[in-house]
């Protein structure tokens, strides 16, 4: 192997999320580990949601990125534990999401109340920064997002929901 683990991690860390290209798989927390073995490289990833269709694209992108560096023998390992959480998302990624027009997850993992949440969580509008926003639906354009509307600028926006 001509590369170190750190170098390989760096190649992979640059791969953008296919749905939200402003953040990378590293910032998202999907990339978990890189292990170099004599015959192959093992890349460990974890899914955001079990049914996330982007996972297949992540896998293809990882294989392609390493192939471009001359690494042909790659094994992808999918792990489910510890379960992915939005708490892993870096500050930098949160800022980039806001600039992209998606409200980043409000810290604190999942809403605590399972049934009939009080809705006290404040999600800021990524466009006008208003705190006067309304949840329209817990399910948005992708599995990881909820749909909100800003009551001040009246624009709808995506919120990267906490899990």
């Amino acid at each position: 192997m001509n590369y170190t683990k750190e170098q390989i991690w760096k190649f992979l860390a640059e791969i953008p999320d296919p749905e939200i290209p402003v953040i990378t798989i590293e910032e998202l927390g999907v990339l978990r580990d890189v292990e170099i073995q004599p015959e192959k490289v093992i890349v460990t990833i974890t899914p955001t949601y079990t049914g996330c269709p982007a996972m297949k694209l992540f896998e293809d992108e990882i294989i392609l990125a390493l192939k471009n560096k001359g690494i042909e023998n790659v094994e992808l390992k999918m792990v489910y534990s510890p379960a992915w959480t939005t708490d892993w998302m870096t500050e930098k990624a949160r800022e980039k999401l806001t600039q992209y027009g998606i409200a980043p997850p409000v810290k604190g993992t999942q809403d605590k109340g399972v049934l009939f949440s009080s809705g006290s969580k404040v999600v800021k509008c990524p466009r006008c920064n208003s705190e006067n926003t309304t949840l329209k639906s817990q399910f948005g354009s992708t599995a990881c997002k909820a749909l909100y509307r800003c009551n001040d600028c009246l624009e709808p926006f995506d919120y990267f929901k906490c899990i």
Binding site: P47, G51, S81, A83, V114, L147
Partner: protein, 252 residues
């Protein structure tokens, strides 16, 4: 029966219920009453299919005969499925779907909470992961039950009828056989009577808030643990399996 055989069956029960409910929910795609709900229901479908993939893949690994998740989903016949009778109920109108999903999600929520500490590593990891997703499903369906139950006379009557008609399929969720006995002893599975008392509490809380009446338990449908299903499963499977059956090993 060996522990491995029991575990394969246990994975299929969970995985098949996710798969069949996911397929049912996908039938709502482009048919939702409003755009937001169309998106919500297809999102929920996706979560269930994702959860099914993990369990069916694991069943294949345990079996060790090279069967993949697709083999389990597309190449088994009706009598080889172990999904809950509830999950195969047709969508009906929106209220019917909401009620079915609520009863099933409340079950999944308590099942996955308990299985998060299963002695089987993958089951525990799968449960912890899926719990995050079904929490949103449970909240979504519960909020709709309240909105419909405590809504207009028409919505109240309709959703009460949905509950009354589907009730006889809820007993099946908590049935157990020798698979459970063996896996409970190993610390892998959970005693369904424990789930039942928690499920009762959740269902009562939501129905009360929705001003709906919980039906009294009477005759309960049974059979899924032996692969016996209602007539609806065959039709669902026929549609789900058509392409891989007609064009084996098709790729795209």
């Amino acid at each position: 029966m060996t522990t491995k055989e029991a575990l394969i069956n246990y994975c299929l029960r969970i995985g098949d219920t996710s798969l069949i409910l996911g397929q049912r929910m996908s039938e709502w795609c482009s048919n939702g009453p409003v755009l937001e709900e169309d998106i919500a229901m297809t999102n929920i479908a996706l979560d269930h299919i994702g959860q099914a993939r993990t369990m069916l893949t694991y069943a294949g690994v345990l079996e060790g005969k090279g069967r993949t998740e697709d083999d389990f989903a597309y190449k088994r016949n009706e009598r080889e499925f172990y999904n809950s009778l509830l999950s195969e109920r047709p969508n009906g109108h929106f209220g019917d779907t909401v009620v079915r999903n609520f009863l099933q999600s409340a079950y999944f929520y308590h099942l996955y909470t308990a299985l998060s500490s299963s002695k089987d590593e993958l089951i525990a990891a799968h449960a912890a992961k899926s719990l995050k997703e079904v929490t949103y499903h449970l909240r979504h369906s519960a909020e709709w039950i309240v909105r419909l139950g405590d809504g207009t006379d028409e919505s109240k009557n309709k959703v009460q009828t949905s509950i009354n008609e589907i009730w006889e399929y809820t007993g099946n969720l908590f049935e157990m056989n020798d698979v459970d006995t063996l896996l409970i002893k190993e610390g892998i599975a959970i005693n369904q009577t424990e789930i039942k008392s928690k499920w009762d509490k959740t269902v009562d809380e939501v129905l009360e808030r929705a001003k709906l009446i919980r039906p009294t338990d009477a005759y309960m449908q049974t059979g899924s643990l032996k692969g016996m299903h209602s007539e609806y499963l065959g039709h669902l499977i026929a549609e789900m399996q058509f392409l891989p059956r007609a064009y084996p090993d098709a790729k795209w």
